[in-house]
Symmetry: C2
Subunit: 321 residues, 2 copies
Amino acid sequence: MKDVAQHAGVSTATVSRVLNGHAAPTPETRERVLAAIEELGYRPNALARSLRTTSTQTLGLVISDLLNPFFAEIARAVEDEARSHGYCVVIGNADESAEQEATYVRTLLDRRVDGLLLCPATDDPSLVREVSAGGVPLVLLDRTVRGATCPVVRADGSEALTALARRLVGAGHSRIGVIAGPPDTSTGRERTDVLTTALGGVAHVVHGDFRQESGSQAAAKLIDDGATALVVMDNLMGLGALGEIRARGLQIPHDIAFAVFDDQPWFPLLDPPITVIAQPTVEMGRAAARSLLALINGRQPDDVRLTAKLVLRGSCGEAEL
Amino acid sequence: MKDVAQHAGVSTATVSRVLNGHAAPTPETRERVLAAIEELGYRPNALARSLRTTSTQTLGLVISDLLNPFFAEIARAVEDEARSHGYCVVIGNADESAEQEATYVRTLLDRRVDGLLLCPATDDPSLVREVSAGGVPLVLLDRTVRGATCPVVRADGSEALTALARRLVGAGHSRIGVIAGPPDTSTGRERTDVLTTALGGVAHVVHGDFRQESGSQAAAKLIDDGATALVVMDNLMGLGALGEIRARGLQIPHDIAFAVFDDQPWFPLLDPPITVIAQPTVEMGRAAARSLLALINGRQPDDVRLTAKLVLRGSCGEAEL
DNA sequence: GCGCAGAAGTTAATCGATTACACACCTATG
DNA sequence: CATAGGTGTGTAATCGATTAACTTCTGCGC
């Protein structure tokens, strides 16, 4: 920057003013500075700028698993929204581990992100408190924690789950296997609670860990226990469960009915296509980014609750269109 | 930091020494400083540190599309490898757009990443030159550019493609549709060249853009043209092509043989399971990260060429296991 | 011709760390 | 006992930007 100033025959203050579009500099001075910048190929040092202004124009996003397309879509949406407001997003991959999550959150805070979006790995509010104590704007996404005091953006699947339960029971299923998320995540618990309540006494719940492998294991167990229908609470576990069903040579929906929470582009390609509860991932991501930006700008956004929708495709034996 | 120093009754220099594990400070002083840090909940400002040391311990990774599981896996692998060496990764999503790619690269450079991993959207070497001119370590991943002078990490599918071609021709196909990537990407061109050469004259090539929609369109066109086999050069376009095949009610492999470049966890679940050419994504990501770290540490890593493998599953009419 | 307002630009402090150099003190040595 | 060498800390410069406060210049009114 000093070089540029010298080259243009002005002070660094003037260069800075040109860079930041201040009113002061003469069009002529501005021209000279821009020419010098061009000539020297100067690029401002964002670190120094941020250090001085205490603003990085960056949001942190800590998600549970990049390989889960659900989170990948969310990440994409967050990024789009953030970019359109002149912000960058740094993504941290917690890998469903509370410890790695904490590490990432701290790293991002150390780098002074202007705000943080978090899909918490567990219910435990201590990390959230730590962030809030640091005064960093925080929005929770997809999952919440006990006694959260910050805005939360999530999808509500109650209606869809209830409708699904009615259909399954209506179709005469009396042993319905539920592959749930970990009991110490809000989504793991809430979805399961709603579904089991709606199902009355016919639900058999096995908890997985939102990974494919746990889906196969849970499916194996539930099928052994005589389940005639399987509802899986996440797409990765759904993948695992499907593998197990195939491996046993069972026919959907004849031998076993099947539904998954989370839609995926390839579910319609299966035979039969898979009935799902689709979450509005893109809207979730965008809404979360918007809430966070609002918080950064000193406003107090409300919680956002979007609705997940039941998409019937045939894997539960329903009439196809 | 000043507060911590005051609290512990030492100078900031000593605090810094404790923080950075220098030999100097007495165990007793060290204790006092650590206590003060603990008590005040102090966290060092990474921006200031980086400004002073000119090292951010951060790698930039610019990929074409986060929603493409192929790149998501790579990103994951890069991140793992980087973390194990004490580095963070900032991911930029270029969305297959050269313009957005350039924007991201510049943003990352402005933030002074220690090195950059790039999956270039096009062949055009100008962006690569710009980075090199800035003296920032750079490694290309998956794709290369014309006249690249930096290390490149990619998968070689020649053998697998040739083997696949032999099988298709051997099975009597005489109109084989190829859905290729854009001709201005190295992977788009090279894979297609190898395959068409191996197929002799029976290939009909349509170029897509690595997106699902273009896969359906290309498939439609090729099927209309009487193709009895379809080879798709990327999993997203594969998804689109499969949708088109399903929509027309065609049976794989009876009506049409089908194979995809890139494996996906759900391909084995289709009926029949999809024959693929699997790329070693995790190894690619790790190798790229390692090469970049080597470059950062002043070594000159060689190009890495991993091999993609043909996985026969039945969708080309081959005998199943 | 004088004073003064307003514009354009400069000087220098600042953000929060790192680190070369200086300094004080302590021991071992000839 | 003077001196050399080592050890633990403090002082202050530095990284590259922003910006408050100040200076200089211009033009205008009376």
